[in-house]
Every structure is written in C-alpha cells, then in structure tokens.
C-alpha cells in the first residue's frame, strides 16, 4: 500500500543497461501485475542486480522506461516509484551496534510502516529481540532483513538473492512471506538462482 494506493502493474519497456563499456542488456521488456512474482535469472554478471537497482531508481536506464500503474495514474518517475519499493539487497543494512528490536523499529519509523509486535516471532527472532546485531549469524541477519522488509509495508518488493545464507526453514520462511505478499496484492521481482516456488514467471538475462 502506498499513499493508500495499490500498484496494479509494473511495466518495463525496452530497457537497456551498460556498465562501463559493457552492454548488459538491451530491449528488455516485461510486465508484472499485482499479486504476481517475477524471477530474474542469469549467470553472474548478467545484470540481475543492475536491473533491480534500475527499477529502484538508483541506476538510470540507458534507454527505455519503467512505468508503474495504479488505479488512478501511470508514472515513470523514479523518485515516485522509490516510495513504493521494499528492498532486500546483497547487504542486509543492519548496524552491529543496534539491537534487533531497535533495528526493526528504526526502519518501521523511517518507512512510516507498522512495527508489528509479532513480526520478530514470525521470522524466528523473538528470543534475540534485545541482542545487538553483531551477535547474529548470517542467516539470522537475513531473517531480520526480511522482518524489515515486512514492516516497510511497501507493495513492490525487489529481492536480490533472497534465499542467500538461509537454512531450509529460513528458505521456507522467505517462500511463506513472498506468498503472503503476493496474496495481499503485492508485486515481487527477485534476482535468484533458485526457484521462487510461487508459480511465477521468469526472465532470463
């Protein structure tokens, strides 16, 4: 939900991306509707992360545009699009000095989201709530990043290797959260080497 509006679709039209002198992709077009997930697949260096950063608005496309459609309007403004994005990148964005609860409250307040009392239990970190993040394992850090994503209450999730560092139960948790998000009418675009398990479409770079 963004400003009380759901996103009905995200459309990429003839996108092109270069990094330095290297052309990563061009003429890339796809459309993802509300409630759908898109898996972006490809070899290392194929441009999966660059595509996600382009959708997030960090990286300007060399050509083409990205359009978000709501019930009221269409917009290709990157800044506007950024307000609807929940981001899970390679790095978890966690501070070792802050406790798990402080970290979650910070992002909930920053994103004007809702710090649900049970979200830490949902990701299996209820017992670590008052533990500084420096004591968390890589998998626990990823779970906390997922909790952060959940409380941000953004309709468009951009996930870069969402299963990384997670054990089997953690991967099941990711699948569960993604299914709930899509069930709530959200959109997911995930760069991954593993199947999302959502009956989703995939895009090969």
């Amino acid at each position: 939900m963004v400003n009380g509006k759901m996103i009905s679709s995200l459309t990429a039209e003839k996108l092109a991306c270069t990094r330095g002198d290297k052309k990563l992709f061009e003429g890339l077009s796809f459309r993802v509707k509300a409630g759908q997930a898109l898996a972006v697949e490809g070899a290392n260096g194929a441009g999966k992360t660059s595509l996600l950063r382009m959708i997030a608005g960090f990286l300007a496309p060399v050509a083409g545009r990205i359009v978000i459609k709501t019930a009221e309007q269409e917009s290709d403004d990157a800044e506007e699009r950024g307000k609807s994005i929940g981001w899970l990148g390679h790095h978890d964005g966690l501070k070792p000095q802050l406790t798990v609860r402080e970290q979650l409250d910070f992002f909930a307040q920053l994103y004007r989201g809702i710090a649900e009392a049970n979200v830490l239990a949902l990701v299996g970190l209820a017992r670590q709530a008052d533990l500084p993040c420096r004591y968390l394992s890589a998998g626990q850090r990823r779970r906390l990043a997922l909790a952060r994503l959940w409380v941000s209450k953004r309709p468009l999730w951009l996930l870069d290797e969402p299963f990384a560092a997670l054990d089997a139960s953690g991967q099941a948790l990711v699948a569960h959260l993604m299914a709930r998000h899509c069930g709530d009418g959200g959109i997911i675009i995930a760069a991954t080497h593993e199947p999302l398990g959502l009956g989703n479409e995939s895009l090969k770079l």
């Binding site: 950063r53 997030a56 960090f58 990286l59 300007a60 950024g82 307000k83 994005i85 981001w87 990148g89 390679h90 790095h91 978890d92 964005g93 966690l94 501070k95 000095q97 802050l98 402080e102 910070f106 992002f107 307040q109 920053l110 994103y111 004007r112 952060r148």
Partner: protein
C-alpha cells in the same frame, strides 16, 4: 516520529555506541592543545597569541577524524540504499547526518575548548569568544565535511583524500574564528568576525545538504 528525527536519533545513538568518534576527536583535540605549549615553551605571551589559531585548527582536524564515516558506514552495509528509498529526501538525510555529527563531535569539542584554553593562558573574555566562535563555526565544519564525505563515499582510503578536499574550503571558518579571538585579545570588538563566521556557517549548512545529496545519488548509481 518523523523519518528525519528517526534518522537523526539513530545516528546519534550509533555515534554514542561506537564509542570511537567523539572520544577519539576529544582525545586528539586535547593532545594537540597539550603538545603545542610543550613545543612552544613557557613564553606565555606567545602562547596567548597563538591560542586562537591552534585551538581552531585543532578542533577542525579533530572533527575530520570521524567525518569520513558520515555516509560510508551506511554505504558499505547497504543501509544507504534503504534510507534512499525512505520517504525522506536525500537532502534532508544529509542534513540529519550533519546535525548528528555536530551534536556528537562539534558540540563536545566546543564544550572542551575553554578547558584547553587554560593551557594557553588565554584570558577569560577571549576564552568566551573562542567558545562562541566554535559554537557558531563547528556546524560549518560538519556541513562542509559532509560534501567531502559524500564525494569520497565509494573510494577506498577516501578518508585520506577527505582532508585535501575540505580543509581549503574551511579556511574562512578558521580565519574568522581565530580572528575573533585575536580581536578579543587586543580589546577590540569581535562582532564583525563572528558575524562573518555566522554567515559562512549559515551558508554552509544551507547549501551543503544539496551538494552532499547530489554526490550520494551519483555514488548509489555506481
């Protein structure tokens, strides 16, 4: 709580828990102020004359120690991506970080300065002017420093380049700040120098968030 206040409080909390930045800056400031009288010797008249300049330069260099981490920590651990997607313009993000840096570094340095002025035998009225000049001028150090910190964000060993970028830009602050102390020592009014210092600080705090935000945007696209 607004996103601006949320970010400001988090950065202050991080600075307090890191333990390094403020304590390191204060220790460095105290060491400079202690070593200079040892090097100059017991010439009290000379010490008094150089006090304003030495303490101002010492404060600026001390504040520099923590400036390179202003954006870099968030950039390296991915927080900056998340902050950039928050409903807070990057200009206000930069301003929050400037204020947090000043509160955790510039303000403690200012508070410590009257104590260090004793080592230079600085008279009371001149000490008061030193305190006021640092109170007015150190926000400019954080603000101009934010520009340098954002420019060197993605550079390895950017902290070494940072002083080369921002020290020349801070020359007016040092000139007006130390000048105000000298004028007070001579029994002249320091109002003019302090006004110029305030104007410089105001301009720096007003404009630097825009420059820093533009530079952060550029680095996020890299």
């Amino acid at each position: 709580m607004s996103p601006f206040v949320t970010l400001l409080l988090r950065d202050i909390r991080l600075a307090a828990r890191s333990g390094g930045s403020a304590a390191l800056a204060l220790s460095f400031f105290a060491l400079v102020a202690t070593l200079v009288p040892l090097g100059v010797g017991a010439d009290l008249a000379l010490l008094v004359r150089v006090a304003g300049g030495v303490l101002w330069v010492g404060a600026v260099l001390s504040a520099l120690l923590s400036l390179d981490r202003l954006f870099q920590g968030d950039f390296e651990d991915g927080s900056l991506d998340l902050i950039a997607l928050a409903p807070l313009p990057l200009e206000l993000t930069a301003l929050a970080k400037i204020i947090a840096h000043w509160l955790s570094t510039g303000l403690p340095l200012t508070v410590l300065s009257p104590l260090l002025a004793l080592l230079f035998n600085l008279p009371g009225p001149a000490t008061a002017i030193l305190f006021v000049s640092l109170l007015i001028g150190t926000p400019a150090v954080s603000a101009v420093g934010a520009i340098g910190a954002s420019l060197t964000l993605s550079l390895k060993r950017g902290g070494l380049i940072l002083p080369l970028i921002i020290l020349p830009l801070l020359a007016p602050a040092v000139i007006f700040g130390a000048g105000a102390v000298s004028l007070a020592l001579d029994g002249l009014g320091s109002g003019g120098a302090l006004s110029l210092l305030a104007a410089f600080a105001f301009a720096a705090v007003l404009l630097s968030p825009f420059a820093a935000a533009a530079s952060v945007r550029l680095n996020l696209s890299g």
